[in-house]
């Protein structure tokens, strides 16, 4: 069976990202999954066990300090070289900023088509995309080269399939022309131990109705209680209540969790663009006419400052 390359994404604190496990799960339907770790020396051994658990047959350790020291260009070149060497049946990446950027460069290098933000990929290489705020389903296919796709997180359920992968070290030498954008510093901003927004199975979001940055504690408390991530509407972000990287919507993140809780969010079309493919939507809003109720599976018309603390308390009571 032909190899399918899965480009691994991992975070230092939390390890292999869930979307990578989704990719390995999809890859098994297309061929033999091989995981590609692009990073500094030691990156591959750190994630080896998890990749084995989800069925990687081979782990390509493409490691060099230079891969971390510059923005995506060296990673794209190293990946293109690997693709040329192993002729895979498909190449799968996460639809993260970096995943899309690597894939974009790869498409140009290889003269290959690219499908971004797919939510599904079948064995014949036909991908499903949800366009225009999730209102339109598009089936598409690469016609030049192999399927090169980026997958939106939370599109499939990762299924373990233990394997004993071979670790293959791949030599890299980074060309000067890939060293044009140097990363000088990486700065983490507050998030606590919460899951990443696009990967979380529960997202609790606050809108303008939350009223202040301080009041967002209410949103955070509920999120932490249910193990969720915190999101925000653009109005909440623009008002300085919450940082921009947590914005959900047309110009923010697209999330597709099991549960999306919208607190004090009206449900403007641009907000819906980022959350309407969530499995279950629950809304709390004091305006009976708020459009968010049109798509909520459960809605509470009421003051969030009364409803949310009571809900938080009720969850604690349930847990005893």
């Amino acid at each position: 069976m032909a190899e399918v390359l899965v480009v691994v994404e991992a975070a230092p604190a939390t390890g292999v990202k869930k979307v990578t496990l989704e990719l390995l799960t999809i890859a098994r339907a297309l061929g033999e999954p091989s995981a590609v770790v692009l990073g500094a020396p030691g990156a591959a051994t750190a994630v080896q066990d998890k990749l084995a658990e989800f069925g990687a047959r081979t782990i390509y350790a493409v490691q060099s300090e230079d891969l971390d020291a510059y923005l995506v260009a060296p990673k794209a070149t190293a990946l293109a070289d690997l693709i040329t060497a192993v002729s895979p049946a498909a190449v799968l990446l996460a639809a993260s900023q970096e995943g899309k950027e690597i894939a974009g460069r790869l498409a140009i290098k290889l003269g290959n088509g690219i499908l971004t933000d797919v939510v599904g990929l079948d064995a014949s290489g036909v991908a499903t995309q949800l366009a225009f705020a999730g209102s339109t389903v598009v089936k598409s296919r690469v016609t030049k080269g192999i399927p090169l796709v980026t997958l939106r997180p939370n599109s499939v359920t990762p299924v373990p399939a233990p394997a004993s992968p071979v670790l293959e070290n791949v030599a890299v030498e980074v060309a000067e022309n890939d060293k044009l954008a140097r990363v000088l510093n990486r700065v983490a901003e507050r998030k606590g131990s919460r899951p990443e927004l696009t990967e979380a199975s529960i997202v609790v979001s606050g809108g303008r109705g939350v009223g202040s940055a301080d009041n967002f504690k209410l949103v955070e408390e509920l999120a932490d209680l249910v193990g969720g991530a915190v999101g925000a509407s653009r109005a909440a972000v623009d008002s300085g209540f919450y940082p921009h990287q947590f914005q959900v919507g047309q110009t923010g993140k697209t999330v597709s969790p099991q549960l999306y809780l919208a607190l004090g969010i009206s449900g403007a079309i641009q907000h819906r663009a980022g959350m309407q493919t969530s499995k279950t939507i629950v809304a709390v809003n004091k305006d009976d006419e708020a459009p968010i109720f049109e798509l909520a599976d459960f809605g509470v018309v009421g003051d969030l400052f009364k409803v949310v603390p009571r809900a938080t308390e009720a969850i604690r009571e349930r847990r005893g």
Partner: protein
Amino acid sequence: MKIVVLVKQVPDSGAERTLRGDDNTVDRGSADNVINEMDEYAIEEALRIRERAGGEVVVLTVGPERAGESIRKALSMGPDSAVHVTDEAVRGSCAVGTSKVLAAAISQINPDLIVCGAESTDARGQLIPHMIAERLGIAALTGARKLTVDGPALTIERQTEDGYEVVSAAMPAVVSVWDTINEPRYPSFKGIMAAKKKPVATRSLADLGVPAAEVGFDGATSVVVEHGKRPPRQAGNKITDSGDGGVKLVEFLASEKLV
């Protein structure tokens, strides 16, 4: 300094958008077409650089004739001139093809700096900036929420999942920006009047030396097999809080095994 700003015309994200039944492209005929919102932030950033360092700002758009309306709107904010690449053979381009046309047009203008939006609101590919950089062999600094220009040196704060990265490069380079980078100005009446007289050069594929067979439907590297509308979500149960709303909410979550 010569700065090119990439401006894409897109269907308004606040209204219903559809793909055409005949050729699977965006239905622009029925849509209210606007400047891709993120590109207004790119224009603003370019104007601020010009204000500090001098030089000129050129708007570059690849799109149908009607994209000219968006070019005039862009010019009314303050750029000096525009290049509009319009050619029937560009229709149906994938991102690979679009980046080829953009890169060819950029080469002709030969700028020091290219500023664009981080993503478009219709396709949301986030592909074009790195594709152009790859084609031109120049640096790409993408996802900027802050940009500092110091002589030929560029430094950005790149927004990431859990914070930001400080990334630097020398010009020539492509910089893509998020909407956190600045607050775009509104066109003044004077700006709107002035925009009517600003030069807009129209270019065909032949003018750029791009073979028509390499872009558009003919050169596309991917194809839409089919598309359809998803049924809209249905509203579920809605209750009015009379003291027990929070408890009812949790009961619902429990019934769905979500808590």
